[in-house]
Amino acid sequence: MKGNNEIELTLLLGTAAMLALALFIIIFVAFYQRRLYAKQSEMNDLELKAQRELMEAVILAKEKEQKRMAQELHDGIGSALTALKMSIIQMNLVPEHKKQIDTNIKAISADVRRISNELMPSVLEDMGLQAALERLAQRIRGATLIDCKYSRNNALESLHNDQSQLALYRVVQELVNNIIKYAKATEILIAEEIIEGNYVLSISDNGTGFEPSESELTKLGSLGLKNIKSRIQQVGGTISYKKLSPKGTNVNIEIRNYEEH
């Protein structure tokens, strides 16, 4: 009987001790994992922040370089071509040849202006985002079969600072280029409005439709999309893509509480 009691006691105490140990392990796992996850998230956030900063620096350097190249083209080659034109006028050449050379120089000048303008649109600096977008839509209508419309909202004139104007213009430029290249669209509509204090810039088309997943937006291959996201983040905005039914895409760029900026 005494032996039986001893076994019972050992059994009870042993089982209780083992259960306590198991519970301790489970609680430890739950708490420690939570801390570990928080730390891991913090590290991921830091890594993302560093990546974003790097991307911003790359964009900034690219813009600077493009501006320099645009100026070089405009001031250097543009002036050289003008000087060449003047020299040719003074030369004793057959009038037909003079005319031919003049036509060629004009064509080269136009190309230089176009390239310079694409690198850094002077209209953006001189007249602001709305004029630049209007010019962009006009250029697309002229160069492609796409009917690109920009619905100008005069109430939004001089709403953005220089950095935001450049970022938004570059994003629209990239999105429109993508539509021309891949969407097989015949119409593009660019529109701006203020909805409940938030600035919304939308680009819609009637093409094949495109809605990238979150992973596609962050994966290394889609540099264009990453650039777009990064530029939008730079101005404190968000971007969303929506495939329309039956066809087309709507891209919304939203900057919250814009009037407070």
Binding site: N4, I7, E8, T10, L11, L12, G14, T15, M18, L19, L21, A22, L23, I25, I26, V29, A30, Y32, Q33, R34, L36, Y37, K39, Q40
Partner: protein, 206 residues
């Protein structure tokens, strides 16, 4: 009374299997197979008891199914090199079981040694899963991870039954009720845990 509750508690995960079977991911399908085999064994064991026939060989069979079945489930949950540990432990368990039958516990005796070793093996599986949770650090809310609950309940069961199986021989021969009461309570908990895992797992994958 408690024995009956324990025997019938297998119905909980069995019902959960049938309610969730169409929505189950691969790993939960494995758990379902394990639950259904256990239910059949439980029913057979109850039938043998009702007819006063020695059902100890069913405990031996259950031990193999328990360890191999749970190893089969953890094979999906544990990644990389840690899988070698699963193979090694199952091999050790099978070798020990054969030696145990030949030398110490025949098919007609209670397999306390085999269940003790099986329990240790399952404990290591659960600890491997916990260590993997730490390595991955991907789960945001651990309380919503059904495999965390699955592993926790298995750990509680194996920890709780460890002393039962160490002292199994002595207690069993002396026909001690407390032994079976403790085991029955832990068995009910285990079955509730299995049902919860199936329910949570399919709810999450919806």
């Amino acid at each position: 009374m408690l024995t009956n509750i324990s025997s019938f508690s297998i119905l909980l995960p069995t019902i959960a299997v049938f309610l969730t079977i169409w929505k189950q991911p691969k790993t939960l399908k494995k758990l379902s197979v394990f639950v259904l085999i256990t239910a059949v064994l439980e029913a057979t064991a109850s039938f043998y008891v009702a007819h006063s026939i020695n059902n100890m060989f069913l405990f031996h069979i259950y031990s193999y199914i328990e360890v191999i079945g749970i190893a089969w489930i953890y094979w999906n949950l544990i990644k990389g090199r840690l899988k070698i540990v699963i193979i090694t432990l199952v091999t050790i368990f099978l070798l020990f079981s054969i030696i145990n039958i030949i030398n110490w516990e025949t098919l007609l005796e209670f397999n306390a040694n085999q269940r003790y070793v099986g329990g240790m093996v399952i404990t290591i599986f659960t600890l491997l899963y916990f260590s993997q949770i730490f390595i991955d650090a991907k789960i945001q809310r651990i309380e919503s991870d059904h495999y965390f609950w699955f592993s926790s309940i298995l750990l509680i069961y194996t920890a709780g039954t460890l002393f039962l199986f160490i002292l199994g021989k002595q207690v069993h021969t002396e026909d001690n009720h407390m032994y079976w009461d403790l085991h029955n309570v832990l068995n009910v908990l285990l079955n509730i845990g299995f049902a919860l895992t199936l329910w949570m797992g399919t709810k999450k994958s919806n």
